[in-house]
């Protein structure tokens, strides 16, 4: 692979996969605040 392609690959993967992993880690670290411990009920 050429140097340009390697630079492009690192840059594009950092943007895409890096972004995904960043938000994934953030979601995991935020724990489970949204866990529905007390399931809501309705009456319809």
């Amino acid at each position: 692979m050429s140097n340009e392609a390697i630079i492009g690959m690192v840059f594009c993967l950092m943007l895409t996969v890096g972004g995904f992993l960043f938000f994934l880690v953030k979601a995991i670290r935020s724990g489970k605040p949204d866990k529905n411990k007390d399931p809501s009920v309705d009456t319809d």
Binding site: S2, A5, M9, F11, T16, S30, P33, K35, N36, V41
Partner: protein, 501 residues
């Protein structure tokens, strides 16, 4: 008697549902081809428009659905008020237009999966002649594709089976049906794509595919087509403006973090698309005789690449039937996981109309089979629907942006998004992007319609309104006009039945 509300059990249920919705056939057949054509420059612009177009719209949709807990007509009608309920009707009917022909794509993917299973079994325990035929006889896959895409009973059967399967899953509810299925489909899909990618990269010439994909040619940035392709692909691939995130949001817990869940789902979709490109492009380059031949394959069009060239290329490599089986398994999973929320959108609106979930699922399935039949029967009708409603999604995006602007962008962000988000975006970002979407959307509709895909975009040679032409503007305007008319004429009825109720 009190009963449990049907909603996702936690964040991961929502994220997997949004990934399932977004990662569809387009990620495997459209993105790799376009990304390959323009290389790294396209990927950079595609990521840029993820932030400009897709994420703000998806955030707005998820927040609206979560806030009002209704389907697309009810939720959008609640924010718009009685006067503009028809906007939600347009968004709903436009996405249903896509669902009806997309169920045919899912049927095709099932048919190809069966073909590849047959090929694998023949390769392992039979004579292997089928694989030889696929690999050496170019006309074989071409005629197979022609036969299944035009008035073929096998296509009809596969298409009906996939719709029934979707209805069966969805009739179990969001938590027991959609969430459980996505927990299996999405991780498996990622693993399968990684397997194909690893196989392809090990083959001689495979790395050339990556070189082709990632080299950044700065001259491309001055080409307006790549900008339009990047924004269009982002809009179509992530499902922004479809109203599907409204449906997913309506089943989410009120404490869900809208911003973080949206970013995670959107970046996950792009990661899957890039993974698909990293699997397909090296495979095409590894199996083509020359790089020139590989680029010719890529330029042959999405349908040709996926349904005729890739099976042939796989058939010519050692262990190819295995890889082809895995690829079309992934394709089927991607298509099916995207079909589910489309049908769920209709089911949610029908349950808002006070139909029971099982009845709503039955009605949705019947509608899907009936209205999808013409697309299953004729590839021309299918192409027309793809063109008309694909572009209609941009209009849906404009409508959603308009409703947010009408409510007040900053006020909307405070009331609907930030109320439950630990991860917050700056106000200026959301305000700037929503305003940009409105104007960018108008430009995009103008641009696509001015491209002249039809020889007679408005009137035919005899001066008649050219509504029959597959790619004519007249066909687009007529079909959009019909659903707009339905929305406007029955605006009061829709408001009364879906919003006020």
């Amino acid at each position: 008697m009190a009963k449990k509300v049907d909603e996702f059990s936690n964040r991961w249920g929502i994220v997997l549902a949004s990934l399932g919705m977004a990662i569809g056939a387009g990620n495997l057949w459209r993105f790799p081809r376009i990304a390959g054509e323009y290389g790294g420059a396209f990927i950079i612009l595609w990521m840029f428009f993820l932030l400009v177009w897709s994420i703000p719209l998806l955030m707005a949709e998820l927040a609206i659905g979560k806030h009002f807990k209704k389907g697309t007509i009810g939720s959008l009608g609640s924010i718009s008020g009685k006067k503009f309920t028809w906007l939600g009707v347009f968004v709903t009917l436009c996405t249903l237009g896509i669902a009806f022909y997309y169920s045919v794509v899912t049927g095709w993917s099932l048919r190809y999966f069966i073909l590849n299973t047959h090929n694998l079994v023949d390769y392992l325990v039979g004579s292997g002649t089928m694989n030889t035929k696929i690999g050496s006889d170019h006309a074989y896959m071409q005629s197979f594709w022609s036969s299944i895409s035009n008035a073929n009973w096998e296509t009809l059967l596969c298409y009906i089976v996939t719709v029934f399967l979707a209805i069966w899953v969805l009739s179990k509810g969001v938590k027991e049906g959609l969430e459980k299925v996505n927990k299996i489909l999405i991780p498996t899909l990622f693993i399968l794509l990684m397997v194909v990618s690893a196989f392809a990269l090990q083959m001689p010439g495979g790395w050339q595919g990556l070189e082709y994909l990632f080299t950044i040619d700065f001259n491309h940035f001055s080409n307006p087509t790549i900008w339009v392709e990047a924004i269009s692909d982002s809009a179509w691939s992530t499902g922004a403006g479809w109203g599907l995130m409204i449906t997913i949001g309506s089943f989410s817990n009120k404490r869900e973090d809208v911003t973080l869940n949206t970013f995670l789902g959107a970046f996950g979709n792009n990661t899957a698309a890039l993974l698909a490109a990293m699997a397909i492009l090296p495979a095409v380059f590894a199996m083509a005789a020359t790089p020139h031949e590989a680029t010719e394959y890529l330029e042959s069009g999405s349908q040709a690449l996926t349904f005729t060239i890739i099976p042939q290329l796989f058939a010519n490599m050692p262990g190819g039937p295995f890889l082809s089986f895995i690829f079309f398994g992934a394709f089927l999973m991607a298509a099916f996981s995207s079909l589910l929320p489309m049908i769920q959108l209709l089911i949610k609106n029908l349950t808002d109309y006070k139909l029971s979930r099982k009845k709503a699922a039955f009605v949705a399935g019947t509608c899907c089979i009936l209205f999808g039949l013409p697309s299953a029967y004729s590839i021309d009708f299918f192409s027309n629907q793809d063109w008309v409603w694909g572009l209609g999604l941009i209009v849906s995006g404009i409508f959603i942006a308009f409703l947010v602007m009408r409510y007040g962008v900053t006020k909307f962000k405070k009331d609907f998004i930030d109320e439950s988000s630990d991860f917050k975006m700056p106000h200026w970002y959301f305000r700037l992007m929503i305003n940009s979407i409105f104007f960018l959307g108008l430009f995009l509709v103008y641009w696509w319609m001015s491209q002249g895909y039809s020889e007679y975009p408005w009137f035919d040679a005899d001066g008649n309104w050219n509504v029959i032409d597959i790619y004519s503007n007249a066909s687009i305007v007529t079909q959009w006009g019909i659903i707009l008319l339905i929305g406007i004429v029955f605006n009061g009825w829709f408001y009364k039945k879906f919003v006020k109720k």
